[in-house]
Subunit: 540 residues, 2 copies
């Protein structure tokens, strides 16, 4: 090669080409931000440039991004966040990170720019002057403020040598936040939890990939197999492709409201064992994209199955606050596992994931989440600690907001009423939109939509006529991609084809968020339904 360069003749080729690159990365697919979203972005640019379209805006119903759809941030979270991150200099305490809060609580807010809302300030005062925001215990880092009309409080993180949110935190996250997460889990489940089992992360995705990394080993028929639901959230298939683990599909029962059936798990496991070594069972509850909420009985059966078949359980529970169906309730895998007692509670290994991107708050942009590990081998836990240390730490602003979410204002706290009102407004609006989505879709012949019991999506099945399938084939697109692309071009509505999540062969779906404001959602559902009807007519 050195010779060719010296000769100056033959042009030196590139090192990194589609042919020479990592083939595992080439196999990765991620439909939620796939070709349909690339095209949506182009269309938005065309609209800005004045290209005439039969619509005036693109409605991005492709991703669970609440604020992007106009949902208002929860005031209390933003107040805490702004204050914990402010970090002005020299306001008297000499410490680098200090934030000012009004010393008079409640009522009208005297100065814009320091709006505490009716309660946040009072709450802080009330809880002993040092009680501020989401990090409340003075012995853990909040310094008592000086008196005055306005006072300065200072945030220092748990360790004296780390006085600023501009510092790295400990790699598994701030100890204080891990402890608050453990207490949150204890309140939720009524069983003990320990900060040592909590690892904060850059969103739940990061934690899910870290756990999978630990679990993947072997080659050929002893390569790790991972059971995932179909339909699934495509992070799973993408991570498995990247890690070269073997994907083993189990199908949710669409005709029974996307229920998980242990007989189907058993079938999938048998199929998987013929080509790999299945060691992991992933569950998404509430379901994404499917929106079902699992019953306690079903969870018990799954745990027994994992015990019997020696599978590591990964429970994706990021939608645990998003339950809309009156007859459904969220049961965490941890709670059910612990209540089942020995041998299950002492044996079955579980990793449960949560995130601040969903729920009633939807703080996606901060990238924060966590995993709780249960019954994890201590040496493996040490390996997990080492693995997360290579990336130094999760983003600190997200850790601060996570802390506030797991330890929100309580009844009697001055901020409680406003906080609770905002939270309930979001959740009841989502419940209303879940109902509306199901109802309106099912009014249209050919669209079949299960109840949206939880999460943030509907995943309706659509009947497509044979001529549409042929037209899609001609375009080298899957039929549902063909449908969704046409929908986008003609209405500006951006939804994700079911093939990106997986679906039973010969069935076609799309995933649509229920997040747009109610009135907009109604229009969207009407437009989508009438487009579908027109589409079917065109290809009949």
């Amino acid at each position: 090669m050195a010779l060719a360069a010296a000769a100056g003749g033959a042009r030196r080729g590139a090192v990194l080409t589609p042919e020479s690159m990592n083939p595992a990365i080439r196999r990765v697919e991620y439909a939620v931000r796939g070709p349909i979203v690339v095209r949506a972005t182009e269309i938005e640019r065309e609209l800005r440039e004045g290209v005439p379209k039969p619509f005036t805006e693109v409605i991005r119903a492709n991703i669970g991004d609440a604020h992007a759809m106009g949902q208002q941030p929860i005031t209390f979270l933003r107040q805490v966040r702004a204050r914990a991150q402010r970090g002005d200099r020299g306001q008297g305490t000499g410490t680098p990170v200090s934030v000012a809060v009004p010393s008079s609580g409640g009522g009208a807010v005297p100065v814009p720019g320091a709006d505490e809302g009716p309660g946040a300030a009072q709450r802080r005062q009330g809880a002993g002057a040092a009680a501020v925001g989401g990090l409340r215990r003075p012995e853990r880092g909040w310094v008592s403020p000086p008196p005055g009309r306005w006072h300065t409080v200072t945030w220092v993180s748990p360790r004296p040598s780390r006085p600023s949110p501009g510092s790295y935190s400990a790699s598994p996250g701030l100890q204080l936040v891990r402890e608050d997460v453990a207490r949150y889990i204890e309140r939720r489940d009524g069983v003990p939890a320990s900060a040592d089992d909590i690892f904060l992360s850059t969103g739940a995705s990061d934690a899910i990939v870290s756990m999978l990394k630990l679990l993947v080993s072997g080659s050929g028929p002893s390569r790790t197999g991972v059971l995932i639901p179909i339909p699934q959230y495509p992070l799973y298939s993408a991570a498995l492709a990247e890690l070269e683990a073997v994907q083993v599909n189990y199908y949710l029962a669409e005709d029974r409201c996307w229920a998980l059936d242990v007989a189907e798990l058993r079938r999938a496991l048998g199929e998987g064992r013929r080509r790999c070594s299945p060691r992991v069972l992933c569950i998404i509850n509430p379901g994404n994209p499917t929106g079902q909420v699992q019953s306690r009985e079903c969870i018990e059966e799954v745990i027994k199955f994992a015990y019997d078949e020696k599978l590591f359980l990964m429970a994706d529970e990021v939608y645990q606050d998003n339950i809309y169906d009156k007859d459904s309730a969220f049961h965490s895998f941890k709670k059910v596992l612990m209540e089942m007692g020995p041998p299950y509670s002492e044996t079955v290994e579980l990793a449960s994931f949560h995130s601040i991107s969903k729920g009633y708050h939807g703080e996606c942009g901060l990238r924060s989440g966590y995993v709780e590990v249960v019954n994890l081998n201590p040496e493996v836990k040490a390996e997990l600690s080492k693995l997360v240390s290579v990336r130094l730490c999760p983003p600190v602003p997200g850790q601060v907001v996570l802390d506030t979410i797991v330890d929100p204002p309580k009844p009697g706290d001055p901020s409680y009423e406003r906080f609770q009102a905002e939270k309930e407004a979001v959740l009841s609006s989502l419940a209303e939109k879940a109902r509306l989505t199901q109802e309106m879709f099912n009014r249209t012949p050919g669209i079949h939509c299960n109840p949206v019991q939880g999460a943030m999506y509907s995943f309706p099945r659509i009947d497509l006529p044979p001529r549409a399938l042929a037209a899609a084939k001609e375009k080298k697109q899957t039929p549902d991609m063909f449908f969704c692309m046409r929908l986008l071009e003609e209405t500006g509505i951006c939804v994700v084809p079911g093939s990106g999540f997986g679906q039973k062969e010969g069935t076609f779906h799309f995933r649509m968020t229920i997040l747009p404001p109610t009135e907009k959602l109604k229009i969207l559902l009407e437009k989508l339904s009438s487009f579908y009807t027109k589409f079917v007519q065109e290809f009949s």
Copy 2:
């Protein structure tokens, strides 16, 4: 296995054990947060619990974490950050994210909690009311504030459908920020740069690992080999272990101030080719842990070598603002490559990395950085876009601060003087501490410290007596780990053994940051030097 459970007898073993886990993860090492730091954390706890020690605090000189060492955050960055993230509701504009700034600029600050500093507010007003913080162009998302004593400005991110920093950004980062990064690079290098080549990331580490993921392929002798400097920043060895790429070491010349020598690159390449397919050459400039700054001539030679030998260049340039030596200057690989002209400028593939964690600002906790790719195959670039989309987006708060760092106040801007004064104070203090470190270490017989031309660390070589080596062997520690552990136990000083970075066999080093405040650093250097002298006496 189902039978065993049914029988209720044999206890079901764990799925995930040290033996069954991913062996590649077991091989990962990361010394910067390794055993010495674990012990430092324990000692801190012991100190809090009142365990008597010959010192009162642990000094963490193990990691480049400026704020943790007491460096004050840059005021302007914090102001922008707090405002872009505030996001109160209903302050008149009806948009979800709005922040209040005083409408009178300059001079005294009327209300704590809204401290703009002398300039930030004025600057905003002066630049046409819509000029706020780091995101300055009104057409790109800043909404003009209403008039008044205080006014509310509203941050909306570039796309109308994404009105909040609580939303996901585009996966490669906000378009606006990518464009500002491109303009920063153009000002730095005097050659064109394009936003399409910029991918924002969760710290530079994230971007480095993403690029390596693309580059790793093949098996056996055709497995990708990656040339890295020794000593290196251990992210590289950790990532290569995890990705099962082959590490190929080239040694920096300690006796010539850690210079990079192309003859040594050639030797390493030849050695590597006997066991793998070397395709990537990693450079760290300014050096970590070694602190050298490469000359323009050396960079040219490296580029020619990469051209001749068909290597992909990865340039870790996160310390580009940290140059202390009067006779050194930072030259980016991009600039030198482009100035060399064809065939190099049209052919050699380069990825250059930067971060907001270092420089004069040290905003580590936000986790933000970027990679610029040069001459990357367009299809591979599309694969990179896909890969980063699986993790959704880098943290948005960090993107906002990155934008402010690449587009800081300019001469004539109201905030310029304070900003510039703070920046220069940090950098001149670091230069003073770099000089001090070298001088004080070299006064001690047996400690040999090269000039700290740049970055944030010294990496002195220490002579260790044979009896110390024997004592270390008995403890199953490397000699430098043995020294550093004793140093920690007896003085509270936490530094990282050279073996964590790699060093020529038979030589021993440690890495120490130059970040503690000057007076504290002097005491630390004195304590460390006299501990070393005592240690040598003990084992002589």
